[in-house]
Symmetry: C2
Subunit: 189 residues, 2 copies
DNA sequence: GGGTATCGAAACCTTAGGTAGCGAAACTAG
DNA sequence: CTAGTTTCGCTACCTAAGGTTTCGATACCC
């Protein structure tokens, strides 16, 4: 059998490599950019062999998606009313994208997904759907409106990041928040 | 000397290959997606050798940029007031992105630019700046607000395209138009 | 110490962007 | 018709990167 009484499987233990690899991924992406952050370089930065990475993640894209899930964590859905809720969500995603490496990794994996349907599926299922559902439940908006909200907010933030290489400044984040709040003020149809 | 009396330089003429290559590029991108639309495949679709492509364009990215410039053409800046002007601009870019191949090529070259500073420069200088300036002059808005406008509109359209593989539906384009119009209704600061 | 699962290292495959060299084609000028 | 000029097509090649395979070494449980 593969399992033992203590629950721990026999053999060489899988040390807490996920965290080390995630940190090395963000660091490497931050320092070199997404494309130059090759799997071999990430592995080297983590002090790990390339094959070890591929044993745990089937592709670079899925490694990045897992890394982003780890970096984002749960959406802080705090706020008394819809207005506070939405504005906190916008500021949260803007702040996360501003963290070193996160924005580049996010924009990069999105890039790859453009012409990789498999990665697009992973991105939609593992990253977008959970956050969309959480927003949907909290706001009571229909799916199509939440998707539109995500397109506008994430699209604008990533477009700025992609064009300038820098995250959106606070003033523009404030304008973005104000704009979507005004548009969604009326509540669900 | 390299030129002759008739103005036409001697030697084998550069036939109108640009149009053929542009058409082949959009067709190939539309059929295979951006990443699978390799330069060799585009060349084959155009009935041209790969080396001929690289003689005229220094990289795949610049080929795509030129192709997009050809596909977009000038911004139709028609409209009596700011409202008509902005809404026509939004609908124009949405319609262009909806054309077969154009949206995929646009999203794809944007993707590559994320981690290719040289391409990002080309994209900013040749594609974004002219349209930004035209909008700036027509609207009388400061540069930062026009850039914000572009981030929101183009970002949302490309994000939808990247996530679903399909361009934004008319209802969402209408909502996008309405939203930015409401936000920009007050005129420049 | 024995069994088991993981890790590291090296070699390898494939795709794709991009380059070099050379002969052939197409055109102008005389 | 010939010479000169420019571009084209073809083949072969280089490099980078994602991803796979193999095998020996290592670390853990019992």
């Amino acid at each position: 059998m593969a399992s033992t009484i203590s629950g721990r499987p026999p053999g060489r233990p899988r040390a807490g490599l996920h965290d080390v690899v995630f940190a090395a991924t963000l660091r490497t992406v931050h320092e070199l950019g997404y494309a130059r952050a090759t799997v071999e370089r990430i592995a080297a930065a983590a002090g790990v062999a390339k094959t070890t990475i591929y044993r745990r993640w089937p592709s670079k894209g899925e490694l990045i998606v897992d890394c982003l899930l780890d970096a984002f964590g749960p959406v802080p859905l705090e706020g008394a009313d819809r207005t506070e809720l939405m504005s906190s969500a916008v500021r949260w995603i803007a702040a996360k994208i501003g963290e070193p490496g996160v924005g580049d990794a996010f924009a990069g994996v999105f890039s790859d997904a453009v012409s990789d349907p498999g990665l697009r599926e992973v991105l939609a299922t593992r990253l977008q759907d959970p956050y969309r559902r959480a927003l949907q439940d909290a706001l009571g908006e229909p799916e199509s409106r939440v998707l539109f909200f995500i397109d506008v907010v994430v699209g604008a933030l990533l477009h700025r990041m992609g064009m300038t290489g820098e995250p959106m400044v606070d003033a523009d984040v404030a304008a973005l928040t104000e704009m979507v709040l005004a548009h969604f003020a009326t509540g669900p149809a």
